[in-house]
Subunit: 196 residues, 2 copies
DNA sequence: GTCTATATCCAGATAGAC
DNA sequence: GTCTATCTGGATATAGAC
């Protein structure tokens, strides 16, 4: 991938983000050096600073863009008027599918939250809470309408997110179960969790 | 905590492990320096090497001892002959309680798995799988006896572990719910997950 | 058992040539 | 836009004095 001097702004910028995402997700933010990222892209370390002011910003931008995309994508598919069960099914299937396609993004947002410094921490925390609130609203609406029977809305929301995120730690393409199967299994488990 | 020169092997050894555990859990293995650990203990960085050959061993020993203790503690409380529901309840309550008391240990074992190098990785993976297998055995026994109705035993086991581990990310002493309440909520959710 | 001092290396980030 | 070269600081780990 080594590349000679020249102008490649259109490809270098995204390539840096791709490489950083992959390496951060695999080894952890603190364990990856700017030189490693640069080597992966095929440039020298100094060249990275044309695209990011520093390493922390690189992490933050990756996480921030991911969270914004996640929320935007969810707001595209959600249906506010439906029955609680349908809204919940939509959420669960959306969440699982999104994670299949953006495994590294989600993994990074989950694992490197504590690597954020200063205001970055609060900014991502707020976006995360906004996403969790989407689920929590569905659950409390269903609880209020009597469709769901939950021992505790907040804990159920957190447990559900944790359960769904668990897919991240073991799913690999070409494994025993197809994506549709996994989606179905998780929806079945979720249905049971919210009813007595 | 600064301490003058002298012999303190009995306290320094454990103090190093305590400090390393706390710092690794808070900031991540790669982000913590040997100097930080030493400062926390009240010695200089060089003194750490009387107690560990290197930083990686410090991490591995913490994780290894934790996993061994976890398995040993579980084998103390488990009852092989009981009904699947009782065995599952024992596991869920044990797991949650153990996590309350050893939050940092469990968090570290979970988050820093990827920081293990060489054979250390496989050794901890095996211990983790042995623990997961304990749950999986309960689930498949219950499935075989007809007590449980599971869409997929393996996925249910992983989802259950992920759900329970989720407590780690939000539980704090003195929060809205007491430990007993949390235990009860998680057992309620678990019961539902394994029955139609 | 701990300290001071240091060897060795690599980190993040910048300056100026091309 | 990228390179080479470099500054500066801090990392792990070791050696030898006390």
């Amino acid at each position: 991938m080594a590349r000679k001097a020249g102008s490649h702004a259109e490809i270098t910028g995204p390539a840096i983000r791709d490489a950083a995402l992959r390496l951060f997700a695999r080894s952890g933010f603190a364990a990856v050096s700017m030189r490693e990222i640069a080597a992966e892209v095929g440039v020298r370390a100094g060249a990275l600073y044309l695209y990011t002011p520093d390493k922390q910003s690189l992490l933050f931008d990756l996480m921030h863009d991911h969270m914004q995309s996640l929320l935007a994508a969810w707001r595209e598919v959600r249906v506010d008027g439906g029955a609680p069960f349908e809204r919940l099914e939509t959420f669960v299937r959306f969440h699982i599918r999104y994670h299949f396609d953006r495994n590294d993004h989600v993994f990074l947002a989950y694992m490197e939250f504590r690597s954020l410094t200063g205001d970055n921490h609060g900014a991502i925390r707020d976006l995360r809470r906004a996403y969790e609130a989407e689920l929590e609203t569905i659950l409390s609406d269903g609880q209020a309408s009597g469709d769901f029977d939950l021992p505790d809305v907040r804990v159920t929301a957190l447990a559900l997110i944790a359960k769904l995120n668990g897919v991240l730690t073991w799913y690999r393409d070409g494994g025993r179960l197809a994506r549709d199967d996994i989606e179905r299994v998780y929806w079945t488990m979720t249905q049971r969790m919210v009813t007595a």
